[in-house]
């Protein structure tokens, strides 16, 4: 019963993708876009700034930053 349902869903999607015309171009576009976003931009250009720090280290770092920035104006000049 479950196997038949899974097969139906599989057939539904397979036939849907096969019958696409303009959709194929769109899928190529989506895949290229997601590749650029996750495997280039996120990986090489947008690492988490606080990555590698434990939660305690993060709160210490941000706490220090927030305290020091009140007297450190270098970021606004």
């Amino acid at each position: 019963m479950i196997k038949r349902q899974i097969l139906r869903v599989w057939t539904f999607y397979r036939d849907g993708f096969r019958s696409m015309t303009i959709g194929r171009t769109l899928w190529v576009l989506i895949l290229i876009k997601l590749f650029i976003m996750f495997f280039i931009l996120k990986l090489f250009f947008f690492p988490s700034f606080l990555k590698g720090k434990s939660p305690e280290e993060k709160q210490d770092y941000v706490g220090m930053e927030l305290v020091n920035r009140s007297v450190d104006n270098s970021l606004t000049k």
């Binding site: 539904f12 999607y13 036939d15 849907g16 993708f17 019958s19 303009i22 959709g23 171009t25 769109l26 899928w27 576009l29 989506i30 876009k33 997601l34 650029i36 976003m37 931009l41 996120k42 250009f45 947008f46 690492p47 988490s48 700034f49 606080l50 939660p55 993060k58 709160q59 941000v62 706490g63 930053e65 927030l66 305290v67 920035r69 009140s70 104006n73 970021l75 606004t76």
Partner: protein, 498 residues
């Protein structure tokens, strides 16, 4: 602000965020707007059984699909930026900002993604009613997404339902309902989503007008225009009403934004609303801001100097006083951290009391010059007028379309078809102007009164932000060109047989 883009890492990060948000907002409103219009068309098909409506709905669904595919996930880039460029902000807001975004990602996105497949692949495979439900649920999913994103944005404009924890240096959610259903979030949701329906309606009318100009698909074009004009008129009226409510809330929660929107430097009672230049509507600003023709509206100078009576009868503090309180609470945070390290409970308690009493001024502690609290007045003033002016124009536009439809002259008025076509970019301009009013007007705050941009930003190299700015500019421009190209091709092909 953006004028000093060459010199500052903060401005580059802001420009990058603005660029990606504005590009993202080119895709989202059309998705929301077309979802309603094609849903209505399919409903007409299911009710009447007339294949004409199926063919009509399928054409707009195809354009929806193109826009959806190109625009999907472009918003994730904004989330990348939170972690990289705005790490202090991301930590400081804690789960308050994360929770709505997580709900958006898990519930709404998956709902959208599931039903969009049935919508596109399910014709003749599932029952008519199930297909119709899938179409509406796809639109509902997109609208739920918008809800949670707008809840997160509204919290930044009007932070409620949280408490600051000096141990974790984070704000913690104490009242989910206050965050999810804050009056600012509710108003912003209806204003933003309904203005998206308006854009969808203008798009459908404009494309239909192109078919009429080409003397193609007359019946399809006129029927599409009628449905879109009904949606558009309803949406534009509700957008105007929620806009009025939004202005009232801005006056209460972000008076500096309202003063910038009106370029009002010295306020007072019985204030007129400036249309442009010296054209003013007597008493109207006072009424819009306070719901009282005699109401007091503070100008930029009044807000900086303080001393005027607030609606709760207390006296407004000057910015200098707020800055002092802000420095006091930041010093207390430093004391708290030091006392905690030393295990001094009494000192911790004393510092905690100062923090709790003055937390609402926290962000002012990072301000050195009171003038830094004044947003770009020129941009706020004109963006507001562009948004409102176009909103009024669209009410008249939809009313005229419906009038001509009633007179059965819709296909005969050639000039109107050109106007309809030219109105498509104007609808996008109105949406972008709205976001400029909302976001430029609240500068320098990332979170109103709690965290200005100079405290929220990560210590990055300006060069790296500049590099990614141009990467985004190229990526999004390519996506936009691709969308326009694919869409024009689909429009030229026209509706196919049902």
């Amino acid at each position: 602000m953006l004028a000093s883009i060459d010199t500052s890492m903060i401005d580059w990060s802001r420009a990058q965020f603005a660029l990606t948000a504005m590009y993202h907002w080119l895709f989202v409103p059309l998705t929301l707007g077309l979802a309603v219009i094609m849903g209505l068309m399919e409903t007409l098909f299911v009710i009447s059984g007339n294949e004409f409506w199926k063919r009509t709905a399928k054409f707009w669904m195809k354009l929806f699909g193109i826009n959806f595919a190109v625009g999907v996930a472009t918003g994730l880039i904004l989330e990348f930026q939170f972690g990289t460029n705005w790490s202090n902000y991301s930590w400081f807001v804690g789960d308050i900002f994360g929770a709505p975004l997580a709900i958006e990602g898990i519930v709404a996105f998956f709902m959208e993604a599931t039903f969009v497949a049935v919508m596109f692949f399910g014709w003749n495979k599932v029952s008519k009613k199930f297909h119709l439900a899938s179409t509406w649920l796809t639109g509902l999913g997109a609208t739920f997404s918008a809800w949670w994103i707008l809840v997160a944005n509204s919290w930044m404009q009007y932070p409620v339902g949280m408490a600051f924890n000096p141990d974790t240096v984070r704000n913690e959610m104490v009242d989910f309902v206050a965050v999810a259903f804050s009056p600012v979030a509710v108003t912003k949701f209806f204003h933003t989503v309904l203005s998206s329906w308006m854009l969808g309606a203008v798009f459908v009318i404009g494309v239909s007008a192109w078919f009429l100009l080409r003397k193609r698909e007359k019946e399809f074009a006129i029927a599409s225009m009628k449905v879109a004009a009904v949606v558009g008129l309803f949406a534009s009226l509700v957008t105007a009403m929620t806009g009025d409510k939004s202005a009232y809330q801005v006056a209460q929660c972000q008076p500096m934004k309202l003063a910038a929107m009106e370029a009002l430097y010295d306020g007072g009672t019985r204030e007129p609303l400036t249309v442009v230049g010296d054209i003013k509507i007597p008493l109207m600003l006072s009424y819009l801001a306070t719901h009282d023709f005699d109401g007091y509206v503070p100008g930029i100078n009044n807000i900086l100097l303080g001393g005027y009576a607030l609606p709760d009868s207390t006296k407004a503090l000057s910015v200098v006083e707020k800055m002092k309180n802000g420095k006091k609470v930041i010093a207390a945070l430093a004391d708290y951290r030091e006392a905690k390290q030393e295990g001094d409970q009494v000192a911790m308690e004393a510092a905690r009391q100062v923090i709790d009493e003055n937390m609402k001024y926290f962000g002012y502690g990072y301000i050195d010059d009171p003038n830094d609290l004044v947003p770009n007045v020129w941009l706020s003033f004109w963006a507001f007028r562009v948004m409102v002016g176009l909103g009024m124009y669209f009410i008249a536009f939809f009313a005229l379309i419906l009038f001509l439809a009633w007179k059965r002259k819709l296909s005969k008025v050639n000039w109107l078809h050109y106007v309809a076509l030219a109105s498509i970019p104007l609808a996008y301009l109105a949406g972008q102007a709205g976001w400029i009013v909302a976001e430029v007007g609240r500068q320098p705050w990332t979170i109103q009164d709690l965290l200005p941009v100079n405290a929220a930003i990560s210590r990055l190299e300006t060069g790296s932000v500049q590099t990614t700015f141009f990467i985004f500019l190229i990526l999004f421009t390519v996506l936009l060109i691709a969308e326009i190209g694919i869409m024009l091709k689909a429009i030229q092909k026209g509706p196919e047989e049902a």
